[in-house]
Subunit: 194 residues, 2 copies
DNA sequence: TTGTGAAGTCGAGCAACACTCAGGTTACTT
DNA sequence: AAGTAACCTGAGTGTTGCTCGACTTCACAA
């Protein structure tokens, strides 16, 4: 019998893990500089590995691009998640939405260039990973009568994602972003609460 | 002196115009079947012309894809434009938004496949071409006290485009689409008008 | 320490694709 | 009918995503 079948899988070799990280880092830099249409060779060179290694870790180019997006989203998600834990006010939901939009617009150039090659960085995906956090915020807001009672988490996420996505795509100014959220929230508020 | 300098450009040759139309038609069919990553050869073959001809009319592949999108949008825009002229009720604005969303979702598969190669079929572009129509509808709605007075055409277009875009990307059901519009409009209505 | 095998790396090479261009063809003008 | 510019053709070029068999390195055990 195998000595240690914990997880039933052997641990990833150290050099492999190191190379993976290097490639990801290089890819982010290269794609940010030259756009998503940059050749994979460039990524390999910058990472200090051969082409084959890149394709071993990320079998296809979309896979690599997706990984870059995920790694970016991870940071945003972590940031948003931390914020939720700090805030306790009823307005936290609004602030949260505002933060998500700002974060998206900040990394706009990278998302934009990635989109050129057909890799969508869907805001709704990022928000889906924050579903439990949104749930908490929404329930608190409902209790505080800050939003209408019949609003579901799915609906909130969908609308927020929609506005966010467009804000990124069209590079809305901060003023315009705030105005959009205001309009959105006025519709979300319960009747007669203005 | 030139005999007829009307437009100062010679008319396009008949065969060229014919070929352009054929290529566009073929491209729409091929991309709908095989996705936007289909080779340009396939389009040329289907259109019954040589590769060079395709690239003469559409110098780059994104150009071709964009042209396909434009031709699709043209139909939707025409449909929406006709609707605006017929309707006269205050609810026309809502119906208009509903139509735009439906049209987008109907052609979802084509837009989706085009997006794979990085060609965005932006709803906001289509709406920008309908700006004057939206303007009319919005003014009517404002006069009828159906929307708040401080809502600008740009804001309306931006929000509508955002929701539409997401509806297409996430393939919202008709029920969900209606719900989203309801939420959006409740926020657009003037204070105390529910 | 040293042997062993699997996991990882390497990079020349292949296939597919976007795009070019020199030469032949066709549609308009006079 | 003749001239000419626009148009079409399709083999060819350069680039890119990806493969694969030979080689190397790590992890673990004896």
């Amino acid at each position: 019998m195998a000595p240690a079948d914990r997880e039933s899988e052997r641990p990833v070799r150290a050099d492999a893990r190191r190379n993976r990280a290097r490639i990801l880092e290089a890819a982010e830099a290269v794609f940010a500089e030259q756009g998503a249409s940059a050749a994979t060779d460039a990524v390999a060179e910058r990472a200090g590995v051969a082409i084959g290694t890149v394709f071993r870790h990320f079998p296809t180019k979309p896979d690599l691009l997706r990984a870059v997006v995920m790694s970016l989203q991870d940071r945003i998600v972590a940031e948003a998640d931390a914020m939720v834990r700090d805030q306790d006010a009823v307005t936290a939901l609004f602030e949260f939405c505002s933060l998500i939009m700002s974060a998206g617009v900040t990394h706009r150039d990278v998302f934009e260039r990635l989109a050129e090659t057909g890799v969508q960085a869907r805001v709704s995906d990022a928000l889906a990973r924050l579903r439990s956090a949104v749930d908490v915020l929404l329930e608190r807001a409902r209790d505080g009568r800050a939003v209408r009672a019949d609003l579901s988490t799915d609906e909130l996420i969908a609308l927020l994602a929609a506005v966010c996505q467009e804000a990124i795509a069209d590079d809305w100014s901060e003023e315009f972003r705030r105005r959009a959220l205001d309009l959105l929230f006025d519709g979300i508020r319960p009747p007669g609460s203005r």
